[in-house]
Point group: C2
Chain length 346, copies 2
C-alpha cells in the first residue's frame, strides 16, 4: 500500500502509521443526541433497512469526532432475515427471535435466499456511505456462533443455556446451524465488499462463553470459513470477541488480520503470542464515564500495553455505553492521536 | 501428611492420591429433592442461620454420592451481616442489598462487629458438621472484590456497572471497601478454622469482569491478605473464579494452594504456568444435562487436560444447576474415581 492509504487500513496490515487510528464500536449510537433524535421516530430495524437513515447515523459520529473509520450501521441479526428468521429488536432488551431454533426441524427451515434481496437496503447503504465519507468503511457481520446463540436462545442471554444444551445434546444439529450461518455470512460479506466496504469486522461477541474444546469442535471451522472468504475478497478482517483470553489461539487459528479483544485481555500478551497479527482494543467502555484524569490514565495504559510496534487500532473493548458523555469521547480520540503522533515511524 | 490423610487434602498439597478427589460446587442445592423439601419450609438464610438445618443440607449430597469433601452451606453475603449490611436472598434473583454501598459514607458505615456474634450459627454449623462427616470440611468465604460487587451493585449484576464506576470515579472509596471486606473475611475464616474447617475456598466468582490492570490495583492486595491469613492457619486454600483466563497470573500472585477455574480455562495451561499449585475444576455444569456418552466424553477431556500429575481436584467449573439430573451426578463421581484409579502412584 502506498503512503496515501488511510492509517486505519495501514494498521490492519501492520504498516507504519503517522498516528494510531481510532474508531469506536457502536460509534453510531444512543450516546449521540442526534442519533436519539432519529430513534425517536424510527426503530433500529427501520434505520437498518432505510439506506438514507442508516447512512445518516453512520455519518453522525464522523461529524463530531476525528475518527479513522466508519462502520456499517447494522445489528448482528439483520442478515438472518435472508435465512427466513422472524425477529424484532426490542428497546432495552435486544433481539427477540419469534421462533427460537432448537431442533433439527428449526435448523432445516433456515434456507438461504439465493439473491439476499432481503438485504438490498444494507448494500445500498454501503454504496451511499462510500460516496459520503473520506475514511475507510468497515463492513459488519456476526460470527456463526454469536448469531447462532441469538437464534437458539431466542434473544440475549446471560448463561447461553439453550445454546450449550443444543450443542451438547445434538451436536450435529448445532453444526448444521453453524454451517448455514457461515454460508449466510460469506454471501453477506461478499455482497458488502462488492458494494464497497474496505474491511470487515466479524463480531464473535459471545464466543467467550465457550470452553476451548467446544470452540474447536463447533465454532472454529465455520468462523474460519467466513474469515477465509474475507481474505479472498482482498480486504482485511478484524476478528473480535469479548472474554476471549482463553480462546485467543483458537480464534487466531480461525483467522483475522486483526484480533479484537476486550479490556480483560492484555494487548501486550496478544502482541507477543501473535506477532503476525494486528490488534484492536481495548479500553473499558466504562472508562469514558470516569473523571478526565482517570480516563487519561486508562487510555495511556492501553497505548503502553499495545506498545510501539505498528498494527494497533485503538478502540473500546466493547460497544460504547448509551450514557457516555460526549466530552469523554472527544478527549479519548484526541489523546490517542496526540500521544501516538510523536513517533513518526510508529 | 501421612497415608491416612484424605485424598482431597492430599491433592490440595499436590501429594499422590489413590484416585482423583471430587466434590461439586453447590453440591447441597436445588437439584436434590431432599434439599428442595427443606427449602419448601425455610428460606436460604434461615438454613444458613440454623445450624441443624445447615448441617443437614450439607450432609445430603454425601449420603447420595461418594464425594471427597463437604463444604459449609452458606452464601457469599452471609458474613456481610457482621459489617451491618442489611440484605435478603430472593428466590431466582439472588442477594438483594437494601442500601447499596456507593459512596464514602456508605463504606464508612460498614463497621466490623468485634466478636462476629452475628455469625455464631455459622461456626456452630462447622462444629456440628465436623462431628457428622468423615470427609474433609471446606470453609466458605467470598473474596473482597466479589462480595464488594454485590454490596455496590445491590445484587447480582450482568455488567457490574456501578462497581466499575465506583472503582474508576472514587478509587480510594473502593479500596476502603475492599480493605473492610478483607478484614471481615480474615476474621470470618479464622473463626471457621477454629471451629474445624480443614480447608477454605475463596470465591472470587466475578473477578473475571476486571481488566488485569484493575485487578492489580484494587483486588489483588485485599485478596492476598485473605489468602495469607488462611496460610497462617495451616490449612489449604482454593482460590476460585470464573472467566479468569486473563487474570490467572495475578490470582496466583494473590495466593492459593489450589487454583480453581471454570470451563473456559484450560487446566493444562494452568498446570504448565503454575507447576507449584494444585488445580480444581472444570467441567461445564451444563455437561451434566447432556446425554451420558457426551457427559463421559467431557469428563474424560477434563481428566486428560488435567494430566496425570498429582494435585487435581475434580469439580464443575461453576455451581451445579438446579435442574441437573441426579443420575448424571452419580455417573460423574463414579467415572472420575474409576478413570483415575488405575494409576496407583497418581
Amino acid at each position: 500500500m502506498n503512503a496515501d492509504t488511510p492509517r486505519f487500513l495501514r494498521a490492519c496490515r501492520r504498516e507504519p502509521v503517522d498516528r494510531t487510528p481510532v474508531w469506536i464500536m457502536r460509534q453510531a449510537g444512543r450516546y449521540l443526541p442526534e442519533y436519539r433524535e432519529i430513534r425517536r421516530e424510527h426503530t433500529l430495524l427501520e434505520i437498518c433497512h432505510t439506506p438514507e437513515l442508516a447512512c445518516e447515523v453512520a455519518l453522525q459520529p464522523l461529524r463530531r469526532f476525528d475518527l479513522d473509520a466508519a462502520i456499517l450501521f447494522s445489528d448482528l441479526l439483520v442478515p438472518a432475515a435472508a435465512l427466513g428468521v422472524d425477529f424484532d429488536i426490542v428497546e432495552n432488551r435486544g433481539p427477540v427471535v419469534k421462533r427460537p431454533v432448537r431442533d433439527q426441524a428449526g435448523v432445516a427451515a433456515l434456507t438461504l435466499s439465493s439473491d439476499l434481496k432481503e438485504l438490498d437496503a444494507v448494500f445500498e447503504t454501503v454504496r451511499l456511505l462510500r460516496r459520503a465519507i473520506a475514511v475507510p468503511l468497515i463492513g459488519f457481520a456476526g460470527a456463526p456462533f454469536t448469531v447462532g446463540s441469538y437464534l437458539v436462545e431466542g434473544g440475549a442471554s446471560r448463561d447461553f443455556r439453550e445454546c450449550r444444551l443444543l450443542m451438547y445434546r445434538e451436536p450435529g444439529v448445532f453444526d448444521d446451524l453453524m454451517e448455514r450461518l457461515a454460508d449466510l455470512m460469506c454471501a453477506f460479506i461478499e455482497r458488502q465488499a462488492a458494494a464497497g466496504v474496505q474491511a470487515v469486522q466479524i463480531f464473535d461477541s459471545w464466543a467467550g462463553i465457550l470452553s476451548p474444546a467446544e470452540y474447536r469442535r463447533h465454532a472454529l471451522r465455520p468462523t474460519r470459513r467466513v474469515l477465509e472468504t474475507v481474505k479472498t475478497l482482498g480486504i482485511p478482517s478484524i476478528h473480535f470477541g469479548t472474554g476471549t483470553a482463553g480462546l485467543l489461539d483458537l480464534m487466531a487459528e480461525a483467522g483475522g488480520d486483526v484480533l479484537g479483544v476486550d479490556w480483560r485481555v492484555r494487548l501486550g500478551i496478544v502482541r507477543q503470542a501473535f506477532p503476525e497479527r494486528a490488534i484492536q482494543g481495548n479500553l473499558d467502555p466504562m472508562a469514558l464515564l470516569a473523571p478526565p484524569e482517570m480516563l487519561d490514565r486508562m487510555i495511556d495504559e492501553v497505548l503502553a500495553d499495545a506498545g510501539p510496534s505498528p498494527g494497533h487500532i485503538f478502540n473500546l473493548g466493547h460497544g460504547i455505553l448509551p450514557d457516555t458523555p460526549i466530552d469523554g469521547v472527544h478527549r479519548m480520540v484526541r489523546r490517542v492521536h496526540e500521544r501516538t503522533q510523536a513517533a513518526p515511524s510508529r
